[in-house]
């Protein structure tokens, strides 16, 4: 950004990015590209209401399941409509893992290549329900209440204790969770829609279910949909360059060939004239929405000082995985709830 000929188009993917880079982005309100959108759900605004960046595709995450294995274990997907259903199926599969030849959950490693699935994505269920109680967040809250920590614990415990890998072996990682799922060694895999291409190679019927965690009314939950893929246009380049950039963006999302290539690479695009997606998990997401389920948006994007915050959570979860005591869970809560406030204060220091 500091070059004499800086990029005109760049990505501001979350609220932290908005905070850091908003001065470098023009207000996209009412521009040609904004008019192409079919939803406002994936756009990012700063405090003053300036449209800093706009989503160009979105993704979803949840629990990827292998219906064939679940049937092989004598269950059906219909049993899994809430946490109790998920728990019953997962615990039964784990108990009979030796006999069945596969286990319930694939490994939930805590190394950097995997921990984000739990410190970022899974954590979203806590944030989302807090956000919903608060009537939606428009900016990063300065603190959390931790009201849904028990629900996070429910699902987290279920995942680590009914898995191919013992919880004490997760700290350094080295297990290939994707491969475990692909080869049919595990029936559940916590991840997102970007895995569809890889997973569907071998697990044709792979489907995605929401984070069921014991919240009231969760039978109506949908998948976690959102994006960190949002375009911003550099405010420090000439107007002609800005206009050319916007024209280019419009072309990318409306031209049949261009948008087809984008959809193939990126999943699904929230634009009126873009082609439709072929991603099974995203279509699952759309189906949940069509059935009247609520979309769990990506409140995770608000995590303040995201790297530091998640690193602390990894450390606390490591200790908890090694010894699932109440004292260790209290440390997880401290890192999760108080860590948020601390990192919020640090991120917003003058």
């Amino acid at each position: 950004m500091d070059k004499s000929n800086p990029p005109t188009l760049f990505v501001i993917g979350n609220q932290q990015g908005v905070k850091d880079w908003k001065d470098y982005a023009i207000d996209l309100t009412d521009t040609a590209i904004a008019k192409e959108l079919n939803t406002d759900a994936y756009n990012l605004y700063d405090e003053s209401g300036k449209l800093v960046s706009i989503g160009y595709c979105y993704e979803c995450y949840g629990i990827i399941a292998n219906p064939d294995l679940i049937e092989q274990a004598g269950h059906t997907m219909d049993e899994i409509k809430n946490f109790d259903g998920l728990k019953a199926v997962a615990e039964d599969i784990h108990a009979r893992a030796a006999e069945l030849g596969f286990d319930a959950f694939s490994s939930s490693d805590m190394d950097d290549s995997s921990s984000w699935r739990f410190t970022g994505h899974l954590a979203n269920l806590e944030y989302f329900y807090e956000e919903r109680d608060a009537g939606g967040w428009t900016e990063c809250p300065s603190s959390l209440t931790g009201k849904y920590m028990e629900n996070y614990k429910n699902l987290y415990d279920l995942i680590i204790n009914n898995s191919l890998t013992a919880p004490t072996d997760l700290a350094t990682g080295g297990h290939d969770a994707e491969n475990e799922f692909k080869t049919g060694a595990a029936a559940f895999f916590v991840n997102g829609s970007w895995e569809y291409a890889a997973v569907s190679e071998t697990v044709k019927n792979a489907t995605m279910i929401p984070y069921y965690c014991g919240v009231e009314g969760e039978e109506k939950a949908g998948l976690n949909c959102g994006t960190e893929n949002c375009w911003a246009v550099n405010s420090k380049v000439s107007e002609a360059d800005q206009q050319a950039t916007i024209d280019f963006m419009v072309w990318l999302v409306s031209d049949p060939d261009a948008s087809a290539a984008m959809v193939e690479q990126l999943g699904i695009m929230p634009y009126k004239n873009a082609v439709e997606s072929t991603n099974g998990f995203l279509n699952d997401a759309a189906k949940y929405t069509a059935d009247g389920c609520y979309v769990m948006d990506w409140a995770t994007n608000y995590q303040p000082n995201v790297d530091e915050y998640r690193a602390a959570l990894v450390s606390a979860l490591n200790a908890y995985n090694a010894d699932q005591s109440d004292a260790n869970w209290d440390l997880v809560k401290t890192a999760f709830v108080d860590g948020w406030a601390t990192q919020y204060a640090a991120a917003n220091a003058a």
């Binding site: 700290a171 000082n305 690193a311 709830v337």
Partner: protein
């Protein structure tokens, strides 16, 4: 025939004129010398033909130029800018704004740096690590070098093998060793990321493994340079092996000890890659307010995490930490050099 005659005549004429020509030259030389002497008396010196006479002194800068330019571009200028930035608040370096311009204390970044508990923790942790690794690496490297200069069979092979770990990059080593340690620790249901002491000793083992071979090479060179006659004299005088080692060999390898302790001390303080790859600072102490102290985080990693992990305001703080870090490493290195230099024996 005619032409030959003419030539002869010309030659004769020339010969007749020759004495006069010689005289002219001599006269003119004398006149020049005289004039020169007169000029010298007036304090005038003739221009020196320096381009040919003393080219290196005159034109040396031309040859130094590329290196000097590279040094200025790659080191001096960023260094000065780094110091400047440590007094600034900035997102991109060209946007830097001095702190007083924002109504803050000029030394605000430095105050934040020295009052940051994680920085202080990493300082003491690094100091402890540097001292322990300094002692371990040098004692072991010297021992290996001493053993391999006693005429053991196959010592060249051993030297090569011991040196090899030094050729592997720090990040790779960190990940490989984390697997090795975890392979062992998983038998006990734990991991290198679970306890500070595992992380500390793990890093010590890693660094010893990597550095001993390098220091060993330096010590071997030093040991081979110990004069034979001195060793022989010690033998004749009836010195025991221990006495020879401590009274003759070690004083004579002091230059090697100087360079090795300097290298291992500064290496210990500057360590980054291995630290990042092996533990990355884990485990953390989660404080009651939700802030963390990364128990195995060393200074360089702390600076990196401050710069990239926090908000924009912290980048200035990280820069201030980096300046403090430079002063610390430079000062320690110089003190240590001065101290060990004193003990070197002049041969």
């Amino acid at each position: 025939m005619q032409s030959i005659l003419e030539t002869n005549e010309a030659l004769a004429a020339e010969a007749a004129e020759a004495p006069s020509a010689e005289a002219t030259v001599r006269e003119s030389l004398e006149a020049k010398a005289k004039a020169a002497r007169e000029r010298d008396l007036k304090g005038y010196k003739p221009p020196r033909r320096s381009l040919f006479k003393n080219p290196l002194r005159r034109w040396g800068w031309l040859f130094l130029g590329p290196v000097v330019a590279a040094f200025i571009i790659g080191f001096v200028w960023p260094f000065i800018q780094g110091i400047y930035l440590s007094f600034c608040s900035f997102r991109t370096t060209s946007d830097a704004q001095l702190l007083p311009a924002k109504g803050e204390n000029l030394f605000g970044n430095y105050i934040k740096a020295v009052t940051d508990p994680s920085f202080l923790h990493s300082f003491w942790y690094t100091a402890l690590f540097a001292i322990v690794s300094l002692i371990m690496i040098n004692v072991l490297a010297f021992t290996v070098a001493y053993a391999l200069t006693q005429g053991v069979k196959g010592s060249n092979l051993f030297r090569t093998v011991f040196f090899m770990p030094n050729l592997i990059g720090g990040i790779v080593l960190g990940y490989i060793w984390s697997m090795i340690f975890d392979g062992i620790l998983s038998y006990y249901g734990t991991s290198i990321l679970m306890e500070t002491k595992f992380g500390f000793w793990g890093l010590i083992i890693l660094m010893c493994w990597q550095q001993i071979g390098y220091m060993m090479i330096i010590y071997i060179a030093g040991l081979q340079a110990v004069p034979e006659d001195m060793m022989e004299a010690a033998k004749i005088d009836g010195a025991t092996k221990t006495q020879t080692l401590f009274r003759v060999v070690i004083p004579n390898v002091m230059p090697s000890i100087t360079i090795c302790t300097f290298l291992s001390l500064t290496n210990g303080f500057k360590l980054f890659d291995q630290n990042l790859a092996l533990t990355g600072g884990l485990p953390f102490i989660i404080q009651s307010d939700g802030s963390t102290i990364k128990t195995t985080e060393m200074l360089a990693l702390n600076i990196y995490n401050t710069f990239y992990g926090s908000n924009v305001a912290a980048q200035g703080t990280a820069q201030a930490k980096a300046v403090l870090f430079f002063i610390l490493v430079a000062a320690l290195g110089l003190i240590q050099l001065a101290y060990t230099r004193k003990r070197e024996v002049q041969q």
